[in-house]
Symmetry: D2
Subunit: 140 residues, 4 copies
């Protein structure tokens, strides 16, 4: 499938649309799979040097959203309608998280994607997440 | 079922265990149902005056976790293993969110709870969330 | 909210639209909450006298779907797009299952409902399920 | 990871443990990924020549369960505790379904796997499913 946006375009979009996470989340690479990084800092940690669930949720949400925009372009204003997440292992302290996302469905009304989240350099996933987005009518 | 902790005890626990959200999330009431409040501020907002998904996720996660601790006591260190969330309506701008939580299962290894989240004063829920927590062995 | 169908109408619809489950699933009562019964027989059992996951899934799916139709009428052809289910306890052998469903959102494009499933006469739920349905355009 | 069971062993297990689905569900191949087939017949169909949600749920549940047993052996009696499923496209009439499963976590207490389900010969997935199983203590 052709792509409507590239890595630089998506990272520019993060800065404009999600200023709260700009500097924390950025797209690393994009082809069939989009890889996004969470630059882990103290604000993401919970006692026991683990990364908070909401921080992982935010990474998955932004990353899958961007993987959709990469295909349909920036005009859309998709809204998350459903998320399912499995937290499977404790992330490694002191390592960024990488989310590897794929788009499974891109319909007129609904888009579905999922991702695996890993601590950088570790093979075993720390979380799995699938999300559904409602796409507003009238795009493109 | 008897309760191991009360509202003041749970709010004290938030301050010690979740300093990042202390002042933002607090328990309002507790009986069969636990009600927790997210004091909405600018850090929770997204463009369009909506409240971010991660902020709602965090509210649900903390609130259901506290509803479990209210029953088994502070000694436990439960870990979220699964979350499923439906975002159903846009929250009302300028209103706090209230999460109404119930515990559906409290087993030796797993606990399950769910919640409805509403904008304060609005009847229609903005989100629904269910979560599973793994309870470490040897509690009690 | 006004209801577009009653218990008899819904049970007649099951016979026409879901002949495979007619005689197994029926609506017991309907107001804010819809209660549906699974008449448990050998076809639903798994080794250890437990009721199969797919049988509980089918009960939840039909029951929440009917709770939506009760509100929007038989004309609609809604499609299940997402289901999340927690299996929490082993059902009691030799007892029917009752699913208690509520509709949480009834939008133009998406409807969301959830249910608790119990063995008849038992207070503790055996399963919790939430489902989303896409509603085709042009109804009503 | 070494495998404790092979394709023939898993298919023999289906016949003994799940007689209701024997002849309908069988393992096709097994390495890092397990592929299982649902031999679609009239009992799986719904009006409009679509395959019922419970039939897809059953395929995913059996297939991921077998992918776990392939690793830990037949002795275990794992129980499904959570399932999340996205129904994304209508299956093709007259084609079997193939579920492609991977195990994401195999812990002492919990195992997590997911699968994509496709109509045979079609590239686009019709459903995505993730499931968690509780593993009883004392195995192996």
């Amino acid at each position: 499938m052709g792509l409507a946006m590239d890595v630089a375009g998506l990272n520019g979009f993060i800065e404009r649309a999600f200023p709260q996470v700009a500097g924390q989340i950025r797209v690393e690479s994009l082809d069939e799979v989009l890889v996004a990084r969470l630059v882990v800092d103290d604000s993401h940690l919970r006692p026991g040097d683990t990364i908070s669930g909401p921080a992982m949720f935010a990474l998955a949400d932004v990353a899958i959203y961007l993987a959709i925009l990469a295909r349909i372009g920036e005009v859309a204003l998709a809204v998350t309608t459903n998320a399912s997440i499995d937290f499977m292992r404790k992330p490694q302290a002191g390592r960024d998280l990488l989310a590897e996302c794929r788009i499974l469905k891109l319909g007129r009304q609904l888009a579905v994607g999922d991702c695996l989240i890993r601590s950088e350099g570790q093979p075993e996933p720390v979380a799995r997440c699938s999300m559904t987005y409602a796409i507003p009518p009238g795009r493109g």
